[in-house]
Structure formats: structure tokens, C-alpha cells
């Protein structure tokens, strides 16, 4: 039948026939132990298949001339159909063959038999890095020991203009002799560009669809490659050495963390995670300096990654980092003369570039900082010292890495701006020095927030992109800002009412003075507005605070100060959280803040503040999910206590918040335990007359009220109100909160006349400030007026409550309560109106699922 086949067809025909014979030889090898009908490709004799390798076929073969085994990569026919494609593959294979590197599998030659292109590659025995990773978590030093040679192999290829395009742990072989070899290189051009090359003509990427993308690269049942693909690969745009760098950093992240940086079950989810920068959490067991280095390689824009693999590897070199020594359990830096190693001279020069950090951060400095904090407060000082010294050390390390990176970039003739980069390093160093100088002042009012402030230090690695924000250099403005900071701190450390009020006054004075001095410098303005906003929050003025935060946020953004922008956004969440009408807005903002924090590497204190503020928003919302709020507060407590210790004012505050949330969640007994715990520490730290102690006492009173101990609750709440009135003045928002709570306890004891005195005073305050949360005040006033028989006032107050609810939204239970109250207040004056209200209340009660209220409404309608 085929005897007449033309010569033109013979080539293709033998291509299929060759493939058939290879299959037969492989089957023979598998089932009979040897290829009875061996197949030759060039001079190589095929032995058996070697695992899956993308869209090509990988065979183990023997080279009889040199008596060695080789891996033969058969190029998929679809990839080599056009003469251009064949030429490209041959050219790339030849380029690979010219590359000899200890960390790259050697390509011997490219050949062609019967139309089948194949590449002969060094056969490497051992197992791949994937298998090693699967063995379980490895210490970061071991991970680096495997990845650095692999990266060096990539770099060697990049030097020759070859890109891997499919770097992943599966493509790194660990030889039995310990050598690390990158395999399956380059030839990618023909074999492994699943997206562009295998798309059918006329199909757009959109039509291809995310599922299709995944499946294209699927080999057997394993979907691996998309997880390592850089955004530019997804986009089908130019792929270069920086694409390999991205894949390398995904793999390195995976090896260090035990999970890939971006998670997503589909290609679309993966891409979303990449573009949104949603990163898997970094474990505490791996130094953060490594994280910074890896994250840079994972930037979406190739321009923002490391200039090349060598710069990345230089930064990752642990032998160039300083040796650690410890004092009081804290790792510190010490200078170690650069050990002579395998590095090339250019890298040696760069090793020195970071060494100057030793001039300003050393053992003695760490001891001084620790001493200053301990002196400032023997209670919380030592724990803060551990945290602060750790931060300062990490910062110094990062600075040294950045300095080396800047040096390496300049050595490697990458386009760079040496003046800008050096200036950036200098500014970073200045920012850092100011933190140390402040710490050494040993002023508790400043040091109480030192650890939180250090979270706002800009990452020196930003200098590699010269992204360091400018440092404000107006001494006057800085002094005012420091005064406000000190006031804020003083309010949380100093004992007694006088101290609190005078601190607030000093802060206000400085706040007024700073803005004109700050002028047009956005870096200064951002800091000033941030501190003023917090002052307003502390003074119970969330609306005013919001204005300052918004201005500060704009300024922080325009001065590229990412940490400050994140911190302001976190505070803004709280400013908005108090307004139940803006719950959705607060949530959106909290999500945005979470993204900003993730980009900063999730600083623990800012993260715990965000959790607390989220929980506040939930507690203030119409349908308060109090259980969720409790969970958030618990997480905040863990983070704060781990960072600052149990005695720190911030920890006490979070503990108090948790207590309050437990109250709302109906877990009053647990709340009381937490609050007693907090009070014990608070009495030591703040004293009995401090308004924050009073806040805790008030919350404790609430939990006792919930447990039915009304007598003790009244005592606690009254004391809390008295302390707050004394320390904050009668008009303060927090004082009003205390009034409301005390009134609630009195109302429960049917002491309505006493309660009304407090409620009417409080209502005046609330109305004066046009506060958002007026509803509860009106309800309480109305109900108590009803109880004492003042029906006019009851109708007025409950009517106002209803209007507030209609405007801001309220739960059906709230509606039922108010309508029932109104019905009672109208019963004698307007029975028909009362009946309608009663029926409405009944509907509300049914909707709310409250049998108690439903029964009350029924009783009312039945004539009580």
C-alpha cells in the first residue's frame, strides 16, 4: 500500500515510524529489561524514557563512542514544524552547548534524525529539589545552600544570553555528590513556551481562558509551572533573565516558608494574588532580611526586581553577613572581617560597602538602648528593649544588604544612579539614627511607643530603587512633632489626672504650632497630621481626627512613605469605626490597610491595631458579630503581648478591649477575668486615678452588670465616671460613655430618676457634638421617662430614637423595643396610634426572633 509513497512524504513518515519504534524499545526495556530492538538516534542508543518533561520526550540513551549515558530530549514535532522554529531551537541548543558551568547540566549537541530534532544532554543522577523540599521544612541556611548554586547556574546562563523560562524545584537536580545542577534549560524556546507557541491562530488570550492556560502546561497529573510564572509570562510579553529571577524567588520563598508566595487554585486566582501582592505569611523562623530580598525578586514589574541574578545572590550571601552574638537573648551584630571565599573580586569590594553599619550599630549601642528602656520603666521597659533592639538590628542588617546591593548594581554596569542611591542610603541611615537617639533619651513618654514607631522606619532595601522617602529636615517641625508624640505617650504612662490633662494640653499647643512650620513639605505634613489625628482620637474626637488622617494620608503618599501611609490608614479605620452608618466604609478601608501592611511584611503592632480597629467597627455595626470581634481582639492581644510584653500599656489597653468585646458577646464571666487581669497591671502602671484605669473599671462594671451583680456594677461604674470626670473634664466623650453605662446599671435597678439625671446631661453633650451614636441615648431617656411617668418626654425621646434608627438603620429588636415604648407612651393620649405602634412592634419582634418582646407586644395589645 505504501510502496508508492513519494519522497516528499518519506521524511514525515519516518518521523512517526521512529516514534513508534522508540515506544517499542521503551516497552521492551520496561518489560523485558532490555531493548531487544534498540533504536538509534544519531550515535545514541535509546534505553528507556526518563520521566515527563513538558511537551517533549526525555529518553535515557547511551553514547557508545564515549561510553556514557546521556539524556535525549526529543523536541515535540509541533514545536519544530516551521523551518524558523527549527532554526531557533538549534541556535539556542548550540548556545547552551557553549555554556559550561558547574551548576548547569551540560548540553552536548543538537541533532536530527528522520525529521525528529533531539538534544543530547548530560545525564544527571540524583533526585530533584522538589523531592528534597517534600522531605519537610529545612533550616533557611540549608535552603540557601541549595538555592545559591542553582541561582549561580541561572546567572551563568544569563551571562550567555540564555533564559531558562521554566525554573522550578523540579528542574534543579541534587547530585549524589552534593552538586546542584539546573536542568531543562533554555531549550524552552522550542519546548516549553506553552502560552504563545501552542495557541491556535486567531485565538486571543481571553478566549483561551484561565483553565486552558493551566492545562496547556500540564504534564500527566501534575500542574506545576503556572505557580512559578511571572506576570510578564502570563501576559505573553517579553521574557528575560528577570523572569527567571521571579521563578527563582517563588521557588526560594516556597522552600523557606513551606508554601508558595501566591496561592491560587486557578491561573486567574494566581494572577490575582500576584497583581494584588497577596502574600503568604512569612514565618518567624526565617530572618526578615531574606524576606526583603526575596520579595524584591517577586515584584510585578521586572524593572523593580533585582537588576540581575548576581545582585540577588550577593544580597543572599550569608557568609558575607555579620556573625551574630547575643546579649540577653537578643541577637546583635558584630563586625567580622570578611572571610576569604569563593566570590569574585567585584563582590568582595561590595562586601565592604555594607560594613560601615558597624560604626553606628554595635554591641555597646545595643546595651545603651536596653539600659535606657529599662530605666524608663522597669515594668515594660525590658520587653520593649528586646523588641526595639531586634528591630534596630534587622534595620541595620537590611541597610548593609542595601549598601552591598547598590554597590553590586554599580559594579555590574546596570543603569543606575549612584548619587541618588547613596543619598537614599544616607537618608535611611539618618532616619535610623534618630530612632536610636530618641531611645537614648530614656523618656518613658517617648519610649512607650518606640517599638510601634520603629515599625514605621522605611525599609533600606528601597534604596535599591531609590524609593526612600525624603526625611523631614525642619528641626522646629520635628520638635513639635516629638512634643505631640510625647504627649500621646504621656497620656498612656503618667499617673494621675493632672498629668493626663496637661499632656493633652501640651500636645494641642504643639499641634497648633506644627502645621505652619511644616509648610509644604509633604514628609513633614504627613507626620504632623498623623500625630495630630491620634491626639484628636485620644481626646474622643473621631470626626476631627479623620480630617487630619485624610490630609496626612495624602501627604504620606506623595512623599512615598509607605509605612506611614499604612499606619495612617489603620488609624483612619478606627476614626470611622465609631460611626455605625459607615461600617462598610470602615471595612473597605480595613481591607486596604491589610494590603498595605502585607506589603510591609506585616509589622506586628500595626497589624494588631488593625485587628482591634476592625473589631471596633464590628462592635459598632448594626448587626454586631461580636464573636468575630472577640477573635480579632484575641489575635491583637497575642501580637501585642508577644511584641511588647504583658506589662506594656498597649497590652493592657488591648486586654481591656478584649474584655469589652467578651461582654458584648455575652461572655461576661470571661470578660471579668480578662478585665481583672488588666486592672491589676493598670493599677501598677497608671495608678488608680488614671482615665485609662477608669475605662477598664467601667468595662468591668459592665461585665458585672451583665452577670446580674448590679450593686457592685453600680459602684464600679460610678467610680469610673468620677475618675474620668476629674481627669478629662465633664464634656469629654469618654466621660459621657461612662455616664451612659452608669445610667444603664441604675435603670436596671429601676432607679430611673437617678438615671435620667445622667442621661439628660449626656444627651445635651451628644447633641452638641452631633455625635453619630445618639440612638441608645434617646431610647434610654425615653424608657426611663416612661417609667417615671413623664409621658411627654418619653414620646419626644422615643420618637427621636425612631428617627435616628430610620436614618442609620437598626436591628428589628431595636425597632421592636422603641415602638413598644412609644405605644405605651401614647396609650392614653392616642389609643389608635398606640395600637398601630404595638402591632408594628409585634412584627418587629417576630422578625427579630425575640419571644420575650413578642409576648410583651401581645400583652400590650391585649390591654396589659
Amino acid at each position: 500500500m505504501t510502496s508508492s509513497s513519494s519522497g516528499e512524504l518519506a521524511e514525515t513518515s519516518s518521523g512517526w515510524a521512529l516514534a513508534d519504534r522508540i515506544v517499542q524499545a521503551c516497552v521492551e526495556h520496561q518489560l523485558l529489561g532490555e531493548a531487544v530492538h534498540p533504536v538509534a538516534l544519531g550515535r545514541y542508543r535509546v534505553e528507556r524514557p526518563l520521566g515527563a518533561g513538558g511537551m517533549g520526550q526525555l529518553l535515557l540513551a547511551r553514547d557508545p563512542d564515549l561510553d556514557r549515558r546521556v539524556a535525549l530530549k526529543l523536541i515535540h514535532p509541533a514545536q519544530s514544524r516551521s523551518p524558523e522554529a527549527r532554526q531557533r531551537i538549534v541556535a539556542e541548543a548550540r548556545a547552551m552547548a557553549r555554556l559550561s558551568d558547574p551548576n548547569v547540566a551540560q548540553v552536548y549537541e543538537v541533532g536530527e534524525v528522520g525529521g525528529q530534532l533531539f538534544v543530547a544532554i548530560e545525564y544527571i543522577e540524583g533526585h530533584d529539589l522538589r523531592a528534597w523540599l517534600d522531605e519537610g521544612p529545612h533550616p533557611w541556611r540549608e535552603v540557601l545552600a541549595k538555592f545559591r548554586p542553582a541561582g549561580s547556574g541561572l546567572a551563568a546562563a544569563h551571562d550567555k544570553g540564555i533564559t531558562h523560562r521554566d525554573f522550578k524545584p523540579d528542574n534543579v537536580m541534587l547530585q549524589t555528590n552534593g552538586r546542584v545542577r539546573v536542568v531543562d534549560f533554555g531549550l524552552a524556546l522550542g519546548i516549553k513556551t506553552p502560552i504563545g507557541e501552542s495557541m491556535l491562530p486567531g485565538e486571543s488570550r481571553e478566549q483561551l481562558g484561565p483553565g486552558g492556560l493551566l492545562q496547556l502546561t500540564r504534564t500527566g497529573a501534575v500542574v506545576g509551572t503556572p505557580a512559578y510564572m511571572a506576570p510578564e509570562q502570563w501576559a505573553g510579553s517579553t521574557v528575560d533573565a528577570r523572569t527567571d529571577q521571579f521563578a527563582f524567588c517563588v521557588a526560594l520563598f516556597e522552600a523557606l516558608v513551606g508554601a508558595r508566595p501566591f496561592s491560587g487554585k486557578t491561573a486567574a486566582a494566581l494572577q490575582r494574588a500576584q497583581t494584588e501582592g497577596t502574600l503568604t505569611q512569612w514565618p518567624t523562623t526565617v530572618p526578615r532580611w531574606i524576606r526583603q530580598i526575596v520579595l524584591r525578586g517577586l515584584q510585578i514589574e521586572p524593572e523593580q526586581r533585582w537588576p540581575n541574578m548576581r545582585a540577588l545572590l550577593t544580597a543572599l550571601d550569608p557568609s558575607r553577613r555579620r556573625r551574630r552574638w547575643t546579649i540577653a537573648g537578643v541577637g546583635l551584630l558584630a563586625v567580622v572581617s570578611a572571610s576569604l571565599g569563593l566570590a569574585v573580586p567585584a563582590q568582595d569590594r561590595c562586601a565592604d560597602a555594607g560594613a560601615s553599619v558597624a560604626e553606628w550599630w554595635h554591641e555597646a549601642r545595643a546595651v545603651e538602648v536596653t539600659a535606657a528602656l529599662t530605666q524608663a520603666d522597669p515594668g515594660w521597659g525590658p520587653a520593649s528593649a528586646v523588641a526595639l533592639v531586634g528591630q534596630l538590628e534587622a534595620h541595620a542588617e537590611a541597610w548593609s544588604v542595601a549598601a552591598r546591593g547598590v554597590c553590586a548594581a554599580q559594579q555590574s554596569s546596570e543603569p543606575s544612579d549612584p548619587v541618588a542611591a547613596q543619598g537614599c542610603l544616607a537618608r535611611s541611615r539618618q532616619q535610623w539614627s534618630e530612632t536610636v537617639a530618641q531611645a537614648l533619651e530614656a523618656d518613658p513618654a517617648l519610649l512607650v511607643s518606640a517599638v510601634a514607631r520603629a515599625e514605621l522606619l522605611t525599609d533600606p532595601l528601597g534604596c535599591l530603587d531609590t524609593k526612600m522617602p525624603s526625611v523631614p529636615d525642619s528641626p522646629d517641625a520635628l520638635r513639635y512633632i516629638a512634643t505631640i508624640e510625647r504627649s500621646l505617650g504621656a497620656m498612656s504612662v503618667r499617673a494621675g489626672a493632672d498629668g493626663y490633662l496637661s499632656a493633652m494640653q501640651q500636645g494641642r499647643a504643639a499641634a497648633q504650632a506644627v502645621i505652619p512650620v511644616a509648610g509644604q513639605d509633604p514628609a513633614l505634613l504627613a507626620r504632623a497630621e498623623w500625630t495630630i489625628g491620634r491626639l484628636e482620637l485620644a481626646d474622643g474626637q473621631p470626626r476631627v481626627a479623620e480630617l487630619h488622617f485624610r490630609r496626612g494620608l495624602r501627604a504620606a503618599r506623595s512623599s512615598d512613605d509607605a509605612p506611614l501611609a499604612a499606619a495612617i490608614t489603620v488609624e483612619l479605620v478606627y476614626a470611622i469605626a465609631t460611626d455605625r452608618e459607615r461600617f462598610a466604609e470602615a471595612q473597605d478601608l480595613a481591607d486596604e490597610a491589610a494590603g498595605m501592611l502585607a506589603a510591609l511584611g506585616d509589622p506586628p503592632l500595626l497589624g494588631s491595631r488593625l485587628d482591634s480597629h476592625r473589631a471596633s467597627a464590628i462592635a459598632h455595626s448594626v448587626q454586631g458579630e461580636h464573636a468575630q470581634a472577640v477573635t480579632l481582639h484575641e489575635r491583637a492581644l497575642r501580637a501585642t503581648r508577644d511584641t511588647l510584653g504583658a506589662a506594656h500599656p498597649q497590652t493592657i489597653a488591648v486586654l481591656g478591649n478584649l474584655g469589652a468585646a467578651l461582654n458584648y458577646a455575652g461572655r461576661a464571666e470571661e470578660a471579668e477575668l480578662r478585665l481583672r487581669e488588666a486592672l491589676t497591671v493598670a493599677l501598677q502602671s497608671w495608678g488608680a486615678d488614671h482615665p485609662r484605669t477608669a475605662t477598664l473599671l467601667g468595662t468591668l462594671g459592665l461585665s458585672r452588670m451583665r452577670q446580674g451583680d448590679l450593686e457592685q456594677a453600680t459602684i464600679d461604674l460610678r467610680k469610673s465616671l468620677e475618675i474620668r470626670e476629674r481627669s478629662l473634664g465633664s464634656a469629654h466623650a469618654h466621660v459621657n460613655d461612662a455616664r451612659y453605662n452608669l445610667a444603664s446599671a441604675l435603670r436596671r435597678q429601676q432607679r430611673h430618676a437617678e438615671a435620667l439625671t445622667l442621661l439628660e446631661l449626656g444627651l445635651t453633650q451628644v447633641q452638641t457634638r452631633a455625635e453619630a451614636r445618639q440612638g441608645p441615648w434617646w431610647v434610654a431617656t425615653g424608657e426611663s421617662s416612661l417609667a417615671v411617668g413623664n409621658l411627654d418626654r418619653a414620646r419626644e425621646a422615643l420618637g427621636a430614637a425612631l428617627r435616628v434608627f430610620e436614618r442609620t438603620g437598626a436591628s428589628p429588636g431595636d425597632y421592636a423595643r422603641v415602638r413598644l415604648g412609644l405605644a405605651r407612651a401614647w396609650r392614653d393620649a392616642d389609643p389608635e396610634r398606640a395600637r398601630v405602634l404595638g402591632e408594628e412592634a409585634r412584627v418587629d419582634a417576630v422578625e427579630a426572633g425575640s419571644e420575650k418582646r413578642e409576648a410583651e407586644a401581645d400583652a400590650f395589645l391585649a390591654g396589659e
Binding site: M1, T2, S5, L9, T12, S13, W16, A17, D20, I22, V23, Q24, C26, V27, E28, Q30, L31, L32, G33, V36, H37, P49, G51, A52, G53, M55, G56, Q57, L58, H76, P77, A78, R81, S198, L200, P201, G202, E203, L208, G211, G212, L213, Q215, L216, R218, T219, G220, A221
Partner: protein, 210 residues
């Protein structure tokens, strides 16, 4: 085909030469059974190897009353089913060969068979777009040149059923070939049964005899 069973028995008894003869006799056919049904060319030797291995291990469960060809095709179909289930989660639950096409499982995977002839390539790809059960009978006809009766014998189904599947499959196939050609940009008109027959003949010529 009593002699193939004899070879199998000899192979089981340790005669490698017999094994080699059996593989030589059937490997091409079984290779072509899998070639257009995988998503990864590397799987072909593995699946063919599995099929032969199971002829050895499943021999006892097969009384020998059927032809060896039917025996080995029955195993090959099981191997294929297991492979498809391992590759695709959706296929794991329920894999109805009469409903599901390869292109449903992995729409954008190309065949491991590649031809320079546009029409032949279109035919190859189109075969992956018909239900797998129809693909099996169509490929036996087009790749191996088997008659409906031979196909029925090999698969153990009545000849009438084979004819029904061939007819149903051809209708779908013609439409798919037309689409493939359209995508390749070379033809937009109707594809007739004669066209398909002609390109299949060409494909067999390129393939060479089993």
C-alpha cells in the same frame, strides 16, 4: 490467534523471546491506540507498557475464549480509562466514553501526533473532539484501516453498533474537521465524507503498515 496466547504463556513462563515477539506483533497497533488519546506524549510508552504488562497479569481472569486482539483492546481501554481519570478530576467521578470528548477534559492540549499536511492534522485534532467511544472506533477505522466487522470483533460489540457509532461519529467529525480547517485558515466550506476518507487514507500512508 491461538499462537499469540501461546506466546503469552511462554512469556509468563519466562521466555523473553516470546515476550519480545508478542510486543513486536502488537506494539504498533497499541501505540496508535494511545497516540491520539493522551495529553502528554511522554505517557505513550508508559500506557503501552502497562497494557502489555496487564496481558500478562490478567491472563488468568481471561479464559481465552476470545481473540487475543479483543483481549488486548479490552485491557487498553481500561488503561486509557484509568489514565484519563488520573489526569482529570472531573473524569474521576464519572467517565462516560459515549459522552465525554478528550477536548472536554483538556480543551487546549494538542495531539502528540503532528503532521505537516494541514488536512491530516485537522483530522487528527478533530478526532479528539468527538466522544471517546466514537473516537476509538473511528481511529480503528482510519488509523488501522479496520472494517466495521473487524472493529466489532476487536471491541466485542455487535457490528451494527459499530456502524451506528461510525455514522454518528462521522457526522460530528466532519463538523469538527471543518472547524479545525477554519481555525487553520485554509478552508471554510463543507467537509464531505469522501474528504475525510481521502485524508484518512493519506494519514495511513504516512503512518505506514502495522
Amino acid at each position: 490467534m491461538q499462537d499469540e496466547y501461546e506466546l503469552l504463556e511462554a512469556w509468563r513462563a519466562g521466555d523473553k523471546r516470546a515476550g519480545s515477539q508478542l510486543i513486536a506483533a502488537r506494539s504498533r497497533e497499541i501505540t496508535w491506540f494511545f497516540r491520539n488519546k493522551v495529553f502528554d506524549v511522554d505517557m505513550v510508552p508508559d500506557l503501552v507498557g502497562q497494557t502489555f504488562l496487564r496481558t500478562v497479569t490478567a491472563r488468568d481472569r481471561f479464559a481465552g475464549e476470545t481473540s487475543f486482539r479483543r483481549f488486548i483492546y479490552a485491557i487498553a481501554q481500561n488503561v486509557l480509562r484509568e489514565y484519563l481519570r488520573s489526569v482529570d478530576k472531573r473524569a474521576r467521578e464519572e467517565l462516560d466514553f459515549l459522552e465525554v470528548c478528550l477536548s472536554d477534559l483538556q480543551p487546549r492540549t494538542m495531539s502528540s501526533l503532528q503532521s505537516e499536511k494541514v488536512q491530516v492534522q485537522a483530522l487528527i485534532e478533530a478526532l479528539r473532539q468527538v466522544p471517546i467511544g466514537d473516537q476509538v472506533v473511528l481511529e480503528m477505522k482510519y488509523f488501522e484501516g479496520m472494517s466495521a466487522r473487524e472493529v466489532g470483533d476487536a471491541l466485542g460489540i455487535p457490528e451494527g453498533t459499530v456502524r451506528g457509532r461510525l455514522a454518528r461519529g462521522l457526522t460530528r467529525l466532519r463538523e469538527q474537521v471543518r472547524e479545525q480547517l477554519e481555525v487553520a485558515g485554509s478552508r471554510g466550506t463543507e467537509v464531505t465524507a469522501e474528504d475525510v476518507e481521502q485524508w484518512a487514507t493519506e494519514l495511513r500512508r504516512l503512518r505506514g503498515p502495522s
